[in-house]
Amino acid sequence: MAFNSLAYAVLLTFSVAWMRVGPWPALMLILASIVFYAAAGPFDMLVFIGAVALNWLVQIAVPADRRRIWAAVIVNIGLIGYFKYRNMLLGQTGLAGSFVDTALPLGISFYSFQALAYHIDIVRGRNGPARSFPEFFLFKAFFPQLIAGPIVRPNQTLPQIQRVFNDKWRRHRLLVFGLGLIVLGLTKKVVLADSLAPVVDDIFYDRPESAYLAWLGAVLFTFQIYFDFSGYSDIAIGSAYLLGIRLPRNFASPFLAGSIQQLWQRWHITLTQFLRDYLFIPLADLRVASRRYRVVQHFCAIVVTMTLCGLWHGAGWNFVLWGALQGIAMVFAALWSRYLPVPPAVVGWAATIIFFVATLVFFRSPNLAYAFDYLGTMLSFRGGLPAAVDDAAPPWEVAAGVAGLFALHWVEFRLQEPRVLSILRRIEGPVSRGFLAGVALLLILIPATNVNPFIYFRF
């Protein structure tokens, strides 16, 4: 069930109302989560229920030591491996050379990683286990974050879920905060991401002949994926807030970052933290190199982590290369900051954005050959500016539009300031709630010219 659907609005409204006045809130949340995921279809539901059951079995049947970590790795990485990477490993490609299996269960990459983090944290003593299967089920299936995150750790949501079971959860009073996040997320998704999608699709489909169009496609795709996924995250966090559960933030204005490391600290934050804690740190701490070469090992760990990050995003060599390039860029930036003078902030910002935009071509392309061809056009600087024919927007309008997207990003950054929260506290009331609920409903009803599912649903 998509967040920008009327069905989700009905489900969320009913759930919030029930949580406020009805009995058995935990049971209601479980049922709502089942209804939410059931929209994906019986096959996806079966895989999900199987994954939850297997992970519960790991908890009750395997001792809480290294064996449990190995069992969790086998179950969860096995699930992702089978459903997501089977074609890639077997060398079977589908349409346009893609390895992606169209039968990929919805959200499998997210709920598998979350289960993995759960078991590892319990073994490491960072958090206690769920006390019952329903608690564990709700931790895994809590519907606002089930399909595409944020990827939560047990210490972030399990205690809150346990409070729901104890009927002592925190009833948030600042409803305009949750509603405001939902409106912000819907604006990003419905107004911006879905509007950019057909333009980007057309540019990538037609194989642009001019560098101007190729760069435009890459820049617009960068914003499309940002608005799409950060919009999804905002709606998830806002929805969870209305239900009394706080989820961690997932984006923090990444396109204002001055370096590639900063960008990754602000982009898909929960995944970056997951990779840092469960992959990078263990790899960097492995005692495989002498003290003298620990720096090299450290850098290798960065590249390996980011390469696997790319692989997590998609089963294709284009994703692998995209991830590897992010890692190499981080190493390059680290070496630069150590041995060379720090460039002016604007230069660092521009270099970061240009690199990220250019490498996202690998992310958007169906395969490596297409990506290199596209990048070749971008770097050729051929074609010049387009002639004003066929109702095309003049270049100055396009430039103003791109500048507007960066301006919106900056405005969003300013919205995260603490004083905005105090403004929300002042305006909290039925009028502001009615206003935000009305805007959210109307945004959902805005007719879409094409069906554009959230991009991260595919991962």
Binding site: M1, A7, D201, D206, G401, P430, G434, L436, G438, P447
Partner: protein, 416 residues
Amino acid sequence: MMSFRRSSPALAHLCRFAVGGILAVVAVEAGLRLIEETPLWRVLPVVQPIPGQPDKDFGFDSTPGASGIWTTEHRARLQVNSLGLRDVERAVAKPAGTFRVGLLGDSMVEAAQVSQQATFGALAERRLRADGYNVELINLAIAGPSPIRQLWRLEKRGYRLDLDLVMANSTAGSFLSGLLLDDSETPAYVDAGNGQLVVGYGFRQRFSQRHAEGLPGRLFIALYQSSPVFRMLYLRSKEPWPILLGLPAAQSTAQRPTPGPAPPDSDASRLACDQARAALDPMIHLWRDHHPELLWAATARFLDDFAESTRSHGVRVFYAIRDIPLPPADCPLPTAVRADLLLNMDRQFTSRGMQLIDWSASISQVVGSPANVPRLHGFGMHKGAGHLNFDGHRAWASALIDVLRRELPVRASSDK
């Protein structure tokens, strides 16, 4: 107010909530209007206009002055002129020395997907004028596949413009679809009970037609034409529940097409042959064998009425029929069937004083081959199917100019 708050706090709360909802409607309305009025319309969400209203003679007719951003297939600013036509403003009285051509047709000719300046009619007019012909090509078309709409359109909007020539354009399939006999949406020929066909207005029984003239109906029309939010709610309310709710199963049917593997050349050729034959069969049955009888009776009646109407107004008629399949060169049987079909169609039109144009062949000739015709349709990743794209309008303009040049004997420097 204070007593109201004390006596019913829940009601007061609800009222304030409703005030917030009204403010939301105002805000979204303002936002959508802002998008429509600025260059943001090219990308950001807009609500497609409904540039017409129920009409008791016509079924549904365009509203003079209606405007908006067309979004289906491709975005374009749509403006209906004061005469109710998708055209630039034209004087009703024909300027002296001007040769006026009325372009009749369906949505392909109306061409809401591109700006008015990019339509084939506008392109052809500019090129002919640049060549010295004092000509006006007036777009009389309106969306809707029934050929009878073209005749009614001509009578209601066209004749008062003192046309010299009419260029009608229909698909061959529109005569087969049964729309000439279906008066549930537009006027059509219906059986009077004595075997005679008369013009039926069954659509007048529709709810929208019965209430269009009253105050609530007029208010409703004014609202959906002027308020994007109201129009959005109206359009969404007509969707089936699964689509309105946004359930995945309902959405999957609207997914973008994904290209499948192309068949081998030999198979493709045979397939094209078979498809052409299958499409031509019902056409030849209608135009040569006059079967099904009722459908032919309606077609013949339409041709009679069209010829009689134009003759009485002194307007010459070119009738372009498109989508008559062009079989590949190595398909002798369908090619022969096609030739036979055209012979029979031409006989029907010529006997009534109208000239038939094989529009598919004309366009194919302009672009070099039937294989190039699909690229004239659709936009972006949907290229290959749908309405005319910019290349399509250029090709149609060339074909139209080829036809008209033969009919325009004098240049601007000469007088008429």
